[in-house]
Amino acid sequence: MENDSTVVAETEPADAPEAKNGDSDSGVVIETRNLSKIYRDFWGRKKVNALKSLDIEVRQGEVFGLLGPNGSGKSTTIKLILGLLFPSSGRVLVFDKDASETSKNERIGYLPEESYLYKFLTAEETLDFYGRLFDMSGSARKQRVDELIKLVGLQGAKHRQLREYSKGMTRRVGLAQALINDPDLVLLDEPTTGLDPIGSREMKDLILSLKKQGKTVLLCSHQLADVQDVCDRVAILDQGELKELGRVADLLKVQDVTEIHTKRLKPEVEAEIRAIIEREGGTCTIDNPTATMEDLFLNIVRESEARPGARRVSGSNTPQETTDTDQKAEDNQGEAGQ
């Protein structure tokens, strides 16, 4: 890794072009108005004030993240949006319909926190069943099921009952069922939990590709790095209250530091830059960037799959310049590496 010679100075990172979508004046998909939820016990006594007067808007085409520690109200919010819970006060509108209306579900895909699926069904039966719930015709259903099984990479296991599946595989089926109706709005509750790094990366790529297709994604997660990688905007909740809401890029921007990325520099050039900055009264550190553990891991796995049996020796390969990551992913790696 030592011969990776990128100099990192700090400068204002350029926004990924897609990220601008979130700003455009597109329609509001989810709107919560003064949304509150109080959990009560059987006798109507107040137990927890899980959500206090939440006002957020999720616009079409953006990836919106809900962040917060355990018990901060993220899941409650998602359940209120889905109509699984009824608000104690306030309203949720999804596609301008009340959350309690069944018809809104036609355009929604939901991946629950854990994949709550019927263990006695096979993957194919599961997807077929959910397809039936959308009143899809037999042929359309079959085509869609095949597509999704391919998408989540379960071709080899589609005839096995879900009880035999690993957690990651169940998660994939869960994802596939969330997409069965080609939804306009996808709600993902902890999408990367239980997935290995490859699965996690694939999930993130998928979220981004959904975004590219113009879909709206609302996700909540503990994996801050994931949120950072994919979300356009985030809302940070704590103890049921909205603490922060804004564009990821804006929120994370460190205003008084500049970062410069360049190819490996010769020592004299490096010294010159240093001199220029010092002349202007600044200080700087010049260093080689570190890759993320995720990149390292993905590279190792890719290589081992490309050349089975070969043993990778540490330092024999660069973690950069992989072929199939898109522009956005590369940007994200830069951010993740900070």
Partner: protein, 636 residues
């Protein structure tokens, strides 16, 4: 099998009760629905007023009703219902409920150990065994699968992925109910086949040879069969000159509920046929009237003792009993006719036509005998039956018979008989001289032995209009079991929409139990209403138990205490009575097994009534389930 008044009703009579609408099933159903709606609205309002405040609560209830009528009912898709039903079906099958069928088969295999081979009527024993076993197994199964499924889904949160699809509460409820009914059907079919095989194979036997054949003076042959399956028959073959081959046939006596045909060919070889097929008699009942010893018309026959406890048979009174408009027992007990007097029972039969009875009138008798003195103990009490024209003074000569208690005795009435026509003796044709132009015929039953008594009920004497095959009757008995199962499933699903699995099961079980003991609750209320000491309500009974008091004495406690106990008891019993009236009459439905076991065709009207009631209860359970599911926070 003694039929009660309501058993004779046609479907229309049951539904409408033309003379007394207060007793009708339709009214009972309407009241039940109205009550459910009123209580539902009240409970719904209280809950939502608690949740959202009084004003908003009203709108919440209004919205719920609007949603059902405007969106959820019209929006219910058969496709989704089918998908959900399929899921429920697969779930049950993959949870290996078919194991119960295996259990049933094992039960049948072991049945030979404990079904008494010396029973006087093995057919009854076998049939009632298989039907009872099926009935309780299926009801228990229905209870389990229906009560646990939905709560399990909610607990394991799999329901999240369902309700976040465009699935309506109506579809979830209907899907479950239909899916489980399909499971039950899939199980009932093999159980029915196994039952049919078990009964028909278990009862089939052959007698191989005849013994002790003696030729009587009149040329008839009398003998006995060999001893097979704990019984033997005696038989008589009358000589038959008309058959040129010299083949003669005779019947054995009725033993173990069946007969065989014995054939003697020209060479003198005997052959004993298989037992008669199992029966499903189609009775044609008449109206009964009693006349006392002086020949005067009476409401009922002679009461020979503790026949009438003044209890039972309330089920036919419907709503009118609950609100106190009709009191007293309606249970039919045997009425007795005094022997050697003008006392008689007259049966008026309708629709006696040559088309229905081409081979003569097959009269079946299930009578009782009561001896007021010992008399000749060797021979039975004798009775006679006379055919009479409804309006003209024409009647046949009496045909006498000996009363066989506790079995159905067959007495074929000839189509041509000696009789009197206005004091003239002549040969009468039944259809031309005795049956009037409306197809009516009167049969007069008398007891011939002086001071002995013959007991009869309306269902005790009937003309056998035909027989249905046994398999068809068994199928009908299974349909009745299916209907019970459907009801239990509907109740189980209903409770499971708002209770946890075990609690839903207990609640459903309580309903089944209360449904089964409804008549006892009615009894207790009847005794309380009419001041008859029969142990009183639950608290009084407990006091009597502890004090070791007899149940027919006055309650021997302090006046105030007695008043308190009786008031509390009345409150409990009246509430139980109301609830029991609202619940399905399961004993009546289980009772169809008795028809099959006794060899009677299960009346179509009876089955239709059960089907209509089942449909009504399922509908009610469906609507209640919908509101509970709709108003429930799935994720709470």
């Amino acid at each position: 099998m003694i039929l009660q008044p309501e058993d004779f009703w046609s479907f229309y009579e049951w539904l409408m009760r033309p003379e007394s609408f207060l007793e009708s099933a339709l009214l009972q159903g309407i009241v039940l629905f109205v009550l459910a709606i009123v209580i539902g609205l009240m409970v719904g309002y209280i809950i939502s007023a608690n949740r959202y405040g009084p004003g908003e609560g009203f709108y919440a209830v209004a919205r719920a009703i609007r949603d059902l009528v405007r969106f959820d009912l019209p929006g219910t898709s058969a496709h989704r219902v089918f998908a959900l039903a399929r899921l429920a079906f697969k779930e049950a099958i993959r949870r290996k409920v078919l194991f119960v069928v295996g259990l049933f088969v094992a039960l049948l295999l072991l049945a030979g150990w404990y079904l008494n081979p010396e029973s006087s009527d093995p057919a009854r024993l076998y049939i009632s065994f298989v039907l009872t076993a099926t009935n309780y197994l299926i009801l228990a199964l229905a209870l389990f699968i229906s009560a646990f499924s939905l709560p399990n889904d909610i607990k394991s949160k799999t329901i999240y992925t369902i309700v976040t699809k465009p699935v309506r509460a109506t579809e979830i409820v209907l899907g479950r109910m239909l899916g489980f009914m399909a499971v039950g059907t899939v199980m009932l079919v093999p159980m029915g086949l196994a039952s049919y095989l078990f009964v028909s194979r278990g009862l089939s036997h052959r007698h191989a040879e005849v013994v002790d054949v003696v030729k009587e003076a009149d040329g008839s042959l009398v003998g006995e069969t060999d001893y097979v399956q704990d019984h033997k028959h005696s038989f008589t073959i009358y000589p038959n000159e008309s058959d040129p081959d010299g083949v003669a046939q005779g019947l054995t006596d009725l033993d173990r509920g069946h007969r065989h045909i014995v054939t003697r060919d020209a060479n003198g070889n005997f052959e004993i046929g298989p037992p008669e097929p199992l029966r499903a008699r189609i009775p044609s009942y008449g109206e009964i009237q009693f006349f006392d010893r002086g020949g005067n018309l009476k409401d009922a026959g002679v009461d020979i003792g503790a026949e009438r406890l003044d209890a039972g048979g309330y089920g036919s009174s419907g709503i009118s009993r609950v609100i106190g408009l009709s009191r007293g027992s309606r249970k039919i007990q045997h009425g007795y006719v005094e022997g050697g007097t003008l006392g008689k029972a007259e049966f008026t039969f309708q629709n006696v036509t040559p088309e229905r009875f081409p081979n003569g009138l097959d009269l079946d008798l299930s009578l009782r005998a009561y001896r007021s003195y010992k008399g000749d103990i060797e021979s039975g009490i004798r009775g006679s039956v006379t055919m009479k024209h409804p309006s003209k003074d024409i009647e046949s000569n009496p045909i006498s018979f000996v009363i066989n208690e506790y079995e159905v005795d067959e007495l074929p009435l000839p189509l041509f008989t000696e009789g009197t026509d206005n004091n003239q003796t002549r040969e009468l044709s039944v259809f031309e001289d005795l049956v009037d132009e409306n197809g009516q015929l009167i049969l007069i039953i008398k007891c011939l032995d002086r001071s002995q008594y013959l007991g009869v009920t309306q269902s005790g004497i009937y003309l056998r209009a035909g027989e249905n095959p046994f398999w068809w009757n068994l199928t009908k008995a299974y349909v009745s079991i299916w209907l019970q199962m459907a009801m239990v499933i509907a109740f189980g699903v209903m409770f499971s929409t708002f209770l946890s699995g075990p609690v839903a099961m207990v609640a459903t079980f309580a309903c089944v139990l209360l449904g089964f003991s409804a008549e006892q609750v009615y009894d207790t209320r009847h005794f309380i209403d009419s001041g008859i000491e029969r142990g009183g309500g639950p608290i009084e009974s407990m006091v009597r138990l502890l004090r070791q008091d007899a149940m027919t004495t006055q309650l021997d406690v302090d006046t105030t205490a007695a008043k308190l106990i009786k008031t509390t008891d009345a409150g409990i019993v009246y509430s139980l009575d109301a609830i029991a009236t609202a619940l399905p009459n399961l004993p009546k439905m289980v009772g169809t097994a008795e028809y099959a076991a006794s060899g009677f065709d299960i009346f179509g009207a009876l089955l239709m009534r059960h089907a209509a009631a089942t449909l009504g209860y399922c509908l009610l359970a469906f609507i209640i389930s919908y509101f509970f599911l709709k108003s429930r926070e799935i994720a709470a």
